[in-house]
């Protein structure tokens, strides 16, 4: 922007000579700038004036090339239409790629490029000439997520020659075969089994990544297994923990798991992606929810959508109703297993079906970029008897939309006092304002939804800028 000053040739209302100071004001305040908008000459401006979003988690001043990635990897990113690193990538990548390697605990909002960040680290760290030696291990809480990460590695690494990525998920590795690939992605249980049976040689591992780390390190769940994996790998392995949420009780354990790690943390109320417009639908009673659900699809342009329900029965019933309304629907819940689940999700991922109805099994991590609406058909609850509102699950659910800066909508259904109170608790917890929708006048509801969509990205508080690096 060396010739910036030379290009300012602005005849102002008062014929003052153009000064760079006046010019930098251009964008922020429209009422002053409006005369300029009508002008017919061009004034070059700084990017920071065009986009005043330093705090935007997707904002970045660097390019991938500046981060020092090899050309083969950079080409993979270009093929995937990634043009610039996101905040978490820009901030975390240099730290993760630095030598000697240091551990990392990184938190960033859903859909801001965490997966790409750790995949880039793995691809950069492994020696691709050693095709049969596992050098990076990535752990995820579900087979779907593991397969998804495998897909991302293969996409970004599409120009990296003979890249071999093994999925260590139930049923994928035969009993007497060795795990032979530069990178292994799996679920903790299967990985432990493979190590125990000497199928998986861990002594050359350079990187261990744990995705959805808060969920994985929870001692009531997969924490124990993750601990056992750690005991089986070299002490020099670099450990990277990633998640959108890190509740305090998990954090202290995470710090022990990944000692002296660099950390990127977010504040409580910066957690939700502001690009997702969050609304709720006031349903007169439980039975009306089906019809209202179908009506929602006419209110706005929807690519794919995910509907979260509590029970398998209602999932199947909703599928029936929606199919008769012309939708192509996939249902995925615990009753489906293994390869069946893969096929169902692949249908959704590829767009053969555009509606996915699911129970909580898929709340986390699944990234289908075209999802533009998430529906909480039932408000997420937890604890014994499902009495307690589940704020974390809510966040992960709505994070299935609004991926990488795209517009997304979440609509939660309430119909009685209990569901209303649960949603109120969640909205208070994150400090978000939910927009109320009503099924009485669809013209009016449509107008309201359109207004919300228009303002979604332009809210003045769209700046969750609390990313800090310790």
């Amino acid at each position: 922007m060396a010739d910036l000053a030379s290009r300012i040739t602005k005849p102002d209302e008062e014929p003052a000579p153009a000064a760079p100071a006046a010019e930098t004001k251009l964008d922020g305040d429209e009422e002053v700038g409006s005369a300029l908008v009508d002008a017919t000459y061009d004034v070059e401006i700084k990017l920071s004036d065009l986009q005043n979003e330093e705090g935007n988690p997707l904002y970045s001043v660097k390019s991938f090339e500046e981060l020092g990635l090899p050309k083969s990897i950079n080409d993979g990113l270009l093929a995937m239409n990634f043009k610039k690193p996101s905040k978490v990538q820009e901030t975390a990548l240099p730290l993760m790629l630095a030598n000697p390697p240091r551990n990392m605990i990184a938190q960033s909002q859903s859909g801001t490029g965490k997966t790409a960040a750790f995949v880039l680290t793995c691809l950069t760290r492994v020696d691709l000439n050693q095709k049969t030696t596992p050098q990076a291990l990535l752990l995820a809480p579900s087979r779907e997520l593991a397969r998804q990460i495998q897909g991302v590695i293969l996409s970004i690494g599409q120009f990296c020659g003979d890249l071999t990525v093994v999925a260590a998920i139930p049923g994928a590795v035969a009993r007497d075969t060795k795990v032979e690939g530069s990178i292994v992605v799996g679920t903790p249980g299967t990985v432990i089994d493979l190590i125990k049976r000497n199928q998986f040689d861990t002594k050359n591992l350079k990187v261990l990544v744990i995705d959805e780390a808060d969920n994985m390190l929870d001692m009531q769940g997969l924490g124990d297994q993750c601990l056992r994996v750690k005991q089986k790998i070299p002490r020099t392995t670099q450990i990277l923990l990633f998640s959108a949420t890190f509740p305090d009780k998990v954090m202290s354990f995470a710090e022990k798991y990944a000692p002296s790690a660099n950390q990127m943390r977010l504040k409580h109320n910066d957690l939700t992606v502001k690009g997702i417009s969050q609304m709720y639908m006031d349903c007169p009673d439980q039975d009306k929810k089906y019809d209202i659900l179908c009506k929602l699809y006419g209110l706005m342009t929807i690519g794919s959508s995910v509907i979260f329900v509590r029970t398998r029965e209602s999932a199947d019933e909703i599928k029936r109703r929606m199919e008769s309304d012309g939708h192509k629907v996939s249902v995925l819940h615990g009753a489906y297993e293994g390869v069946n689940r893969d096929t169902l999700l692949d249908d959704f991922r590829s767009g053969r079906s555009k509606v996915l109805i699911t129970t909580n099994v898929l709340a986390r991590g699944i990234d289908v970029s075209t999802v533009s609406m998430v529906i909480n058909y039932d408000i997420p609850m937890k604890g014994p008897g499902e009495r307690e509102p589940d704020a974390e699950t809510y966040l992960h659910r709505i994070g299935r939309t609004g991926r990488f800066g795209r517009v997304g909508v979440s609509i939660s259904f309430v119909y009685d006092k209990r569901s209303y109170q649960a949603l109120t608790y969640i909205s208070n917890y994150y400090g978000i304002d939910l927009v109320q929708l009503s099924p009485d006048d669809w013209d009016e509801t449509e107008r309201k939804v359109q207004d919300v969509l228009k303002s979604s990205r332009a809210k003045p508080d769209y700046a969750p800028n609390a990313i800090k690096v310790d």
Binding site: P11, D38, Q51, K84, G298, T301
Partner: protein, 530 residues
Amino acid sequence: MAGSPPSRPRSFQYTSPSRTISEILGEDRNSEVRHKLRIETAWKEHERVREDAERALREHNQKEEQRRLLEEKRREEERIRRDEQIAAERIRLNALKAKKVEIPPVLPDPEPPKAPPAAPVAKAPESAPSPTPATATTPQLNNLLNGTTAQKTPAPLGQPAPNPFGAPPKPSPFTQASLQTAIGNLQVQSKEPVAPTPRPQPPVAQRPAPVPIDRYTIIHTNLKALRTLMTQQAKVNKLLKQRMGDMRRDIRKSVGQLTGGPAGTNRQQQNKIMENLREALANQVGSQLVDPNDYLLEPRSYAQGGQQSPEKLPSLFLYLLNQFAKAAISQFVNEASARPETADPVGVCIAATFSDPNFQWRGQSLIDILMAKFRIVCPVLFGFRGSEKTLEGRKRLGWKKEHGSWVDEQVHMDRMTGLGAGFAAVSLRNFSKTKKVNPYPPRNYWTAMAKIVNTPSPEISNTQAVVLKAMIQNYEQKFLEHYGSAAIAALRMCLFEFPARVPAGSQSAAINSLGVLATQLQRDSGLVLT
């Protein structure tokens, strides 16, 4: 076997036609005469069979030959037809190239040249031969970045400035009154359809342009006015109000439900859309009638197939067609932006709907309604250009503003990706197997592509690169089917020569993506362009 006569079957009944029992038992049955006679007979029979066989063979060969000739003729005709097509497109491409290079140097300037030139402008586009160097230092220079300048008449240097001090520009007489209502960031462009005046030095034999390209922005404005008209009607027309919203939402939902898959996958959705449009056309709710010419690039007279078409059409029908177009564009922006391949079923649906004779008027489709929207949201497809670093440039590129601030760069580029793919999905449809007429034939794709790749080097923008990539990816096959080897040449230009022309230092991820796409094409479909 081909040359030999067929062997005679044993049971042939003519074996010894003259042989009867009496003969066999006769005295002279072993006499020499009898013997000779029998040889004679046998020989004649042999000759007869042989001639029969030879004739059959000759006939067969003749038929074969005839068939071969016909086939050859057909193939030859096909080849000639293809060659002609290619030649025609080449000529068109050349014409376009020639046209682009010679951008008229001077512009009529609505601004006063009052501002003191702060400094000599650093970067004068080399492509602009400037016989009046004085203007090169004035602020209008940057207007050259606008693709629209090609249509403007260069004004004499001393032209009085009609619009001093950056006051809001007045609408030109060509724009309609309704334009004033309008479209903030497009005012600059909508001023410009003053174009039909010929340029001073036409570089090639110029086709008279009966309609300036920016008729599209006028259509767009008229469509906005139509929307207002509908809201007003709905206030007084209960029946209309009851149906209008439901029909609109029905169409939007159906467009959203379209998915890829084998033929027939989207029949239910297609029928639903058509059903709503037919209902609107029947106009039982009694919406006002309006003149479709307001939404067309060129007016259609009664003589042009007007015999079947009424003078005016129900406003509800045009409104819904507009909503359908809007839903499609929105689907491109919101869905195809993330996954470009989702544009294709929408493109099929658009082609099917606009080519339906029921929804045509005076013998042609009403697709201008859709294209007017494309023109607004993705101007680079129509040859408009601009710098991403300037306000005006961004506006010309269709960079969206929301609540006063520009949308994020990634968001803009995603939009352009979706729209580029959407444009290809609409303009590269194959109508060879149907009797219907393609409402937006492939030549439009070629033209849009040419307008992008013929951009003078200093004016090439990332937006153009992104749109170009999206137009090509997943559509290289269809492009090749329509244009054959000319398509290969065009792809080479798009993916190698075009990015190579970008000035050093201006290389970007978007520009580099074009080269990566070429690598992908070679890897995935074996298409070698180098």
